[in-house]
């Protein structure tokens, strides 16, 4: 008994977006989200009933993000930062939250462990399946990652206030 895919997007879309943003900057994160759900929609009919949909989606997003990072590193490098210098009137984007940048600055394993456990809510055993290594290693990587984030933000309360973000 499969639920309509629309329900899957509504329920898990925000989580997958966080996972993509934890690993990639915009607009690559948005592209990875789109590719994740397009691939998921293609495979959805064949997904086993009772599968853990969230873990399945995060696994797809994990691979799409890795693909995207590889493509980035293949791209010709030192062109000036086009996104920031061009002033074309494209869709308005909310300002990037510094926490995203800090997350992306973490070592890969820590970043993935933090994203998949703290942002996607997967248990460490699932996280370990996706990123490889033991459950304990996944737990340690997430712990180290959060500790680093805390150190960079001596006052996390400031981050949690909306005014603090937008001003």
């Amino acid at each position: 008994m499969k639920r309509p895919f629309e329900e899957i997007v509504a329920q898990h879309g925000p989580t997958v977006l966080r996972v993509c943003r934890a690993v990639l900057a915009r607009p690559d994160a948005d592209d990875a989200w789109s590719e994740t759900f397009l691939a998921a929609m293609r495979a959805y009919s064949d997904l086993a009933d009772g599968a853990n949909i969230e873990a399945w989606l995060v696994t797809i997003a994990h691979h799409k993000a890795i693909d995207s990072l590889r493509a980035q590193s293949r791209r010709a490098v030192p062109v000036a930062n086009i996104d920031e210098t061009s002033s074309n009137a494209s869709a308005w984007e909310p300002p990037e939250n510094d926490l995203w940048a800090a997350l992306r600055a973490l070592p890969t394993k820590q970043r993935q462990a933090v994203a998949y456990h703290h942002l996607a809510g997967l248990p460490y055993a699932e996280v370990a399946t996706i990123i490889g290594g033991s459950t304990d290693a996944a737990r340690r990587a997430a712990y180290d990652g959060v500790r680093t984030l805390r150190r960079r933000y001596r006052d996390p309360q400031q981050l949690t206030s909306r005014e603090g973000i937008h001003s």
Partner: protein
């Protein structure tokens, strides 16, 4: 939705709703191009309540009244047709426009591709017969049964009407009991009465010379 498990992440969800709406639209468009969008749906407001509209790439598949429970209808489509279902209003623009014209009294016939895959056998035959009943006219269940060549299948005609996947467009509301009573209706009897009086008004007001 699962909330981040550490308070340090509380700040990151502030713009998610806007982004999700934009990404959802993008997904619906891309899925359509890639032929992954097996069923597109939207809702429209009407004088007889909110209607759910669903279409395959073959045509209009389903119209459902609120009475039928839209979530339940989508779940049934997921099981009977395909779970690859998205809210994607664009595929249903034409349907929505023609329905609005109909409810405004400005349209007497629908010109739309229809997908009858939810109706089988005799029920499908009945639906094919129903689309031949003109706007503003009615027939009885027994007349419809006779027209299908099965004059004794009156009850089966009733069942076909009750399970009509495309009410309004396939006008089962134009079928009445032989004693002149309304009979039944998938959208409830008040809705059936409303549609009949809409069509009666149109018939007497704007085309008195017809028939």
């Amino acid at each position: 939705m699962i909330n981040p498990t550490d308070p340090i992440f509380d700040s990151i969800t502030h713009d998610e709703a806007d982004t999700m709406a934009r990404l959802h639209d993008r997904l619906a468009a891309a899925a359509d191009v890639d032929r992954l969008l097996d069923v597109a749906y939207r809702t429209v407001d009407s004088p007889v309540g909110t209607l759910l509209l669903a279409a395959t790439d073959q045509g209009l598949l389903r119209i459902a009244y609120q009475l039928e429970n839209h979530d339940q209808v989508l779940q049934t489509l997921s099981e009977r047709v395909s779970p690859r279902i998205l809210y994607a209003p664009r595929r249903l623009d034409q349907v929505a426009r023609q329905l609005a014209e109909y409810f405004a009294g400005d349209r007497r016939d629908f010109v739309l591709p229809l997908d009858f895959r939810l109706a089988h056998g005799f029920r499908r035959e009945v639906l094919a017969r129903l689309v031949m009943i003109d706007y503003g006219h009615t027939e009885t269940y027994s007349q419809v049964a006779a027209a299908t060549g099965h004059p004794r299948a009156v009850r089966a005609v009733g069942t076909a009407c009750a399970t009509n996947p495309l009410p309004v467009i396939v006008p089962c509301h134009r079928v009445l009991r032989s004693d002149g009573q309304l009979g039944g209706y998938v959208g409830g009897l008040p809705t059936k009465a409303a549609l009949l009086s809409l069509e009666a008004g149109q018939y007497s007001d704007t085309s008195p010379a017809m028939r």
